[in-house]
Symmetry: none
Subunit: 105 residues, 2 copies
DNA sequence: GTAGTATGTAAGTTGTTGCTTAAATACTTA
DNA sequence: TAAGTATTTAAGCAACAACTTACATACTAC
């Protein structure tokens, strides 16, 4: 959780998360979304996000597709839950439900 | 929101928040909760938390009492909610699709 | 195979962060 | 008033984080 919160503290990484929230996006397409910074910089952010458990990767031939990993985000949100339970306490549940729903079929 | 997330990314500051979640605690008492670091270090963390809108201060004579500011935390949690909200509908759809597809593998 | 495309890794630079000790501020009390 | 207590501010430092350019890897297609 510590790693995830640190990852999310960076605005570029949050923007990346928004970008891959609902669909897989290739590293190149993600980098194209950030003209201000270099491709290696984006790659490093991606690595940090993956390590923090916030992103899933799928290698397809030449490319790598990234997608937000909701369960990781929910784990990060655990802190907020414990501090202020009302609005966020459903997050983890839903994430786990989705995770197991994606893995089973 | 950016500042709040950066503030929360530090484990010491999260521990401080836990300490003052439900009641006012004086700076000295907070510092006493962290024997590993100096009083000025705690003071700096407190300043960061106040600036980020996560803490309220009340000066009473010689002392300053800190307490968690729930609203600030909620604003920080906005990011997590925004990552969450839209796909909830999609999730429901997917779940329903799977439910109906389960009978025909 | 060679050339080209997509991506990650290495090494180095710069700004930021979290800490320290020393000094300053602000209030209380004898 | 002076001395004591509670706390913050200042200055400096080591560790880290986010970037850069240059190079390496891995796959695709002629």
């Amino acid at each position: 959780m510590d790693e995830a919160l640190r990852a999310v503290a960076d605005p570029t990484r949050r923007a990346i998360l928004v970008l891959v929230r609902d669909e897989e996006v290739s590293a190149g397409d993600i980098a194209r979304g950030f003209p201000g910074i270099s491709r290696p910089a984006v790659s490093q952010h991606l690595r940090i996000l993956v390590t923090a458990g916030l992103l899933d990767v799928r290698r397809a031939g030449n490319r790598r597709f990234y997608r937000m990993r909701r369960q990781g985000l929910a784990e990060a949100a655990t802190f907020f839950e414990s501090m202020w339970s009302a609005p966020l306490n459903r997050l983890k549940q839903v994430a786990e439900e989705e995770e197991s729903a994606e893995g089973s079929p």
